[in-house]
Symmetry: C2
Subunit: 392 residues, 2 copies
């Protein structure tokens, strides 16, 4: 186990009807004038925005709103939010929605107290030294941003997508009401599940020895998701299934499943190139890539992949041929994702074989000579994995 | 799953040589003049106190020291610490040691900024509205106080032992270096392990349905402890084993394993009466009580106890007689604790059968008509469990 540091200061309020606690929580964490930041119409149509506003009103907290966040949130709206904060004297950000709305709110919180251009912080070219406090009301379990230190923003003018990781990005509070996820379309539910599982998988496959504690925690959260994700699709208003997946999404990405170990993240990186070129949904790029990545990494990693197969997918261990057990686990992972309606191939994703050289090159440019750590991938390895995604 | 709230704001720094970070962390969390609070000679003899002082010196942080904390920390020393804080203008508490030193530091931190008597807060008779910030350097994995909101103090004049639970008790940072536990005697290591496992067991056995996520997390941490505790005893300086148990101790009691469920805590409560009467080590009271408590609770709880047996102790499920599986799990738990040198009976603990009526009565007086929740225990149930501990 490596030395590690972990910090999770977010106050989580989880359960039915918890959005009515928003005003009280903003007050507790020092807010008096809030910018409510959200995406499209569903937050309005469902009545959630109104409930949150009523809760703020009841707590005597002033508020202004800025909607319109898109998937892969854009810097343009972030700048607009920063202007509002400075003009209106906003002292607290409130993100309502999924990862996009909350990530966008995090960037606004940073820019609102920064004299320069927030994008320089996201590019790693200016220090991240302060931010307005921020809370969130989550409606889509997937990115884990409600408990994480990260925020990913796309600069639509520069065609760049960049993430910032800083404790200033950690929400002061997060409200998680599983009931708010009942109306999620099946596709978004499934893509969220793939993202949650990927956050665990990117941590689980490591060469760091003696990480038994976090191995078992990873397996636990994966087993929970595997048990309940199909229930979410077949009974969209099953509270217990929605609750299990929602809390699993937070646990998957608040950092504790990766303590003391080298993490990988190559599948996320390869997936970002697919999203950049085809605007593919993040979770869908992961369901295509991860099984092929696991097959590509198998030589030399038979025992760890067999452990995954046995402990997560209940495969029987083949002690004579552990690689067969590992492959059986990958098959079960693919079959599980397919059962949720997720794609497994470039064809299903609408990605094209001829773009592979370009994507592999961009991957190298963005992440350095080696992508990932479990098996450090050169440009040709990345290309080979993309090619595997074109088969059958 | 029930609605829940969870808050874990402690910044954890885990690993080798991390005590050298103390000064930097005190500074980060706003301390400029520290009261270092510790127990007996081992912190001095091992050189840890000197290392911490050097780290504070290097960071330019003033400090005074107060040693002498005893197991079951006393209010007398707390009052002494409060006087020092007020007299010296202390603005940060630093607890070094196991649960006793850190719990005592928490009480001093509360009393230092309270006009009245800190004991009134611990008795629940005065509001807990503020405390000095506090950090800790842990040397004994057991109570989980390094990441918890609780502190238990004994008032030696009033013969009362009382716990306070408040977010003000949460350390700002906790330094966990497994190397610092190499020199722990086998008995303290084993009692710490029993306490860690008990913190999980008290949460695991619940009647709240649909708590799969936290069930599996509980099982994971228990499995880790069961794997590594014997290694800690046989190879006291095995870093990986000490690291696994140390981190498990924090995870067991920072609240996340109990989210969304009714917890029990009757074994802790029955154990406190044993400690009060015979000054028994806390962990040793738990290894005696828990197996008998599980046997007493079995009727009506066969399936949950069988789940524990199958998932934690790898028992084979007897689908026709799940109670046999449950009993097999209890046997394995007892055998495991016995293998660590822990007691299983009143005789080994030095407890007397004739004191049972008194202890059962005190349990009722201290915790109300019903002790616990998994099977709410009346005074006669508590007595019956104590009697079971006298058998064989």
């Amino acid at each position: 186990m490596r030395n590690f540091e972990i910090y999770n200061p977010t106050y989580f309020v989880f359960g039915r009807d918890t959005q009515g606690r928003t005003g009280e929580l903003v007050k507790r964490f020092g807010g008096s004038k809030v910018l409510i930041h959200y995406g499209g119409g569903s937050v309005v149509r469902s009545g959630l925005l109104r409930q949150v506003e009523e809760s703020l009103d009841a707590a005597g907290i002033a508020h202004v709103s800025l909607g319109g966040v898109q998937p892969n949130p854009r810097s343009g709206l972030v700048y607009e939010g920063i202007d509002i904060c400075k003009r209106e004297g906003i002292d607290f950000l409130l993100g309502i929605g999924g990862g996009s709305a909350i990530d966008s709110a995090k960037a606004i919180a940073a820019g609102a107290v920064f004299d320069g251009d927030f994008w320089d912080i996201w590019m790693g070219e200016a220090p991240y030294a302060n931010a307005l406090p921020l809370g969130c009301v989550l409606t889509l379990p997937a990115t884990g941003t409600e408990g994480s230190n990260s925020s990913v923003i796309t600069n639509e003018k520069l065609h760049l997508k960049r993430g910032s990781s800083s404790d200033f990005n950690r929400p002061r509070f997060a409200i998680l009401n599983p009931e708010l996820t009942y109306t999620l379309p099946a596709w978004h539910t499934a893509c969220g599940v793939a993202d949650i599982m990927a956050h665990i998988i990117e941590r689980y496959f490591t060469n760091t020895p003696d990480v038994d504690v976090s191995d078992r925690l990873c397996e636990s959260v994966l087993q929970t998701v595997i048990k309940y994700a199909p229930v979410c699709l077949h009974e969209p208003d099953n509270y217990e299934a929605r609750a299990a997946v929602m809390w699993a999404g937070t646990l998957a990405h608040n950092g504790q499943l990766g303590v003391g170990r080298q993490e990988d993240w190559s599948s996320h990186q390869m997936g970002h190139e697919l999203s950049a070129l085809y605007d593919s949904t993040h979770g869908a790029t992961l369901s295509v890539l991860i099984p092929h990545w696991l097959r590509y990494c198998l030589p030399g990693h038979e025992m760890r992949e067999a452990q995954f197969a046995v402990r997560v997918f209940d495969c029987e261990m083949d002690f004579e041929h552990p690689e067969r057990t590992a492959l059986e686990g990958i098959e079960r992972l693919s079959a599980f994702w397919k059962s949720l309606g997720l794609p497994l191939t470039f064809a299903e994703l609408g990605a094209k074989e001829e773009d592979i050289p370009l994507m592999a090159k961009k991957c190298k440019r963005n992440y350095g000579t080696h992508t990932g750590a479990f098996r450090p991938l050169l440009e040709e390895d990345v290309a080979a994995i993309y090619h595997m995604c074109c088969e059958k």
